[in-house]
Symmetry: C2
Subunit: 337 residues, 2 copies
């Protein structure tokens, strides 16, 4: 089932791209009449020789919009009195980030309703968002210099959200990021040693760490979870990225993921701060090794207490998790209505 | 110059080790008469096959002491009315952590003065602390199952400090942590390609990123800093760990580091939250490759604003830094009195 009725491309006042993805019959004749300053220089990429990693130096981000009140939200549709980033009403809208961390960064607005959250979207809208992410993955994959596409949502001021309007982000990395590189190396070693896919084996062995499952998808807490609450959501077959999901897989994601988000918010009877991102194959390498999965994790370890990345995690990369993964899985299962 | 006059080992009520390191003539006849519960089981180590990393599952840490008021501080010396972790007055005291993340974790109290901070210690005390860290590095290196010793300080509730009393921590990792492993691999490649030590080359090329320097030590912002304010402090010659520092190197560290901490606190006219840790060689491997250095970094990116590790950093390992390293170095240099 296809949820997007219409896809409309537009340009913003400073030349950035804006794309509307409509479920409803909406008219897009709005025009971005703002006087915007020229777009900032692209961030500088520096190679850290010690860790063999690329660091983006994005000084122009220091001036980015920081927790504006609702009546100054730049992600709400424009009104006659106030021009925002988006001229017209919309269902889902994607535009190039004005303060990019990498040469191509996009913002995806899940709804024009400022007060909503991902957890309150309708199943149809969730499926639409997934179609949009697949569209952006395909588009960014065709761009020069994009090596990997990462679609993610940061939720909650506790993890640094600077805009309350429900939105996600899409990064087109000009390199294959460290986690992907590491996971693909381990996957290659496992394949050579066993003939099997590593992630598929981990999924098959999830056992009492499975929290939700349907015919097409499984949500489970990883065996060596590094966050107090961490869940993988993966298709039951190996796929490289979101563009490979079938319609039925995409449609079956919506109810499962909404169920999961509802449980997470009930864990502490409060909106759970989380990071949720889709791990996809690199654009031009190792597409046969990668296994598409969503990774969602929270820094909340107890009511009123957060997990901080202090010395061991931030300086050494060695994680300490205060919650036993099997117990986290049980808590999430028990948080069903 | 040796700063420790006396080293006194003691046992705590539940069998944990406690060591006093005194500059003054202090008497240690205090006895830990508390009724303490049995020590919790050692944390479980789980291997994350996807990232080839060891995760410590330390569920008993959930009940650890959390931001107690000053009159209930467990790191102050005991009084007739209240037994703390430390029976006697002390200059510097080290004891085994009651809530360890790894089989051997220690707490090092820099002073018995609850209201102090590292930045307010005397130069003599800083040198004493460095001697203590060398002592602990030597001791833990001799223990079965300790592969690497990491000495660090977390400062500020913004990065998750749960006790205000000025203290650091010492972890005896049962494995070589990810950052060390990665850095040593890059160092080996550089040595094979050039015949030179990688860190020594980075130090030699620090140029306008040097913030402080004396005959024995250099403090500089790394070229590809991943944090808004990040400084390496390293001896001017290659050493594997703190036990190899000469007396004169140790003594020259104190004024330089105190100068640095003072500048950092003046950046935003407020105590800067930071993580500061000593990167040392593994206990039994690659001691000829490693180059001892302290890494200090802050998550403060501007007055009232913190750098959060959101989707890109936490899920992908790809860092975005909002401050240009050369500008950070200039700001720190300008923050001299």
């Amino acid at each position: 089932m296809t949820h997007i009725m219409k896809r409309t491309a537009a340009k913003m006042a400073d030349g950035r791209e804006l794309v509307y993805f409509d479920e409803r019959e909406l008219v897009h004749n709005g025009y971005d009449r703002r006087e915007l300053p020229p777009r900032p220089a692209a961030p500088e990429l520096r190679h850290d020789d010690l860790t063999d990693e690329w660091i983006a130096i994005a000084a122009q981000r220091q001036t980015r919009t920081f927790l504006p009140p609702a009546d100054q939200c730049p992600l709400c549709p424009s009104t006659p009195d106030r021009a925002t980033e988006i001229p017209d009403d919309y269902d889902v809208a994607v535009f190039e980030n004005r303060f990019p961390s990498y040469p191509r960064c996009e913002v995806v607005c899940f709804t024009s309703d400022h007060q909503a959250s991902f957890a309150t979207l309708s199943p149809d809208r969730v499926a639409t968002v997934l179609e949009v992410l697949a569209d952006r993955t395909a588009e960014l994959s065709m761009m020069d210099g994009v090596a990997q596409v990462f679609c993610f949502e940061n939720r909650g001021v506790e993890i640094g959200v600077t805009l309350h309007h429900p939105h996600g982000q899409i990064y087109g990395y000009p390199f294959v990021p460290p986690r992907t590189r590491t996971v693909l190396a381990a996957t290659r070693r496992h394949l050579e040693a066993t003939g099997r896919n590593l992630f598929a084996d981990l999924l098959a062995g999830a056992g009492d760490r499975v929290v939700l499952q349907n015919e097409h998808l499984t949500a489970f807490v990883p065996y060596a979870a590094r966050w107090p609450f961490e869940v993988f959501v993966a298709p039951n077959r190996q796929l490289p990225d979101l563009t490979a999901l079938s319609d039925v897989e995409r449609d079956s994601f919506a109810p499962l993921y909404l169920d999961l988000l509802g449980r997470l918010d009930r864990l502490f009877d409060a909106p759970l701060p989380y990071i949720s991102g889709w791990h996809q194959a690199p654009v031009r390498a190792d597409r046969d090794l990668a296994y598409l999965h969503l990774q969602l994790f929270s820094i909340r370890r107890a009511a009123g207490k957060l997990k901080y990345l202090a010395g061991s995690e931030s300086a050494m990369g060695a994680f300490v998790n205060d919650v036993v993964p099997e117990e986290a899985a049980q808590l999430i299962r028990d948080a069903g209505r």
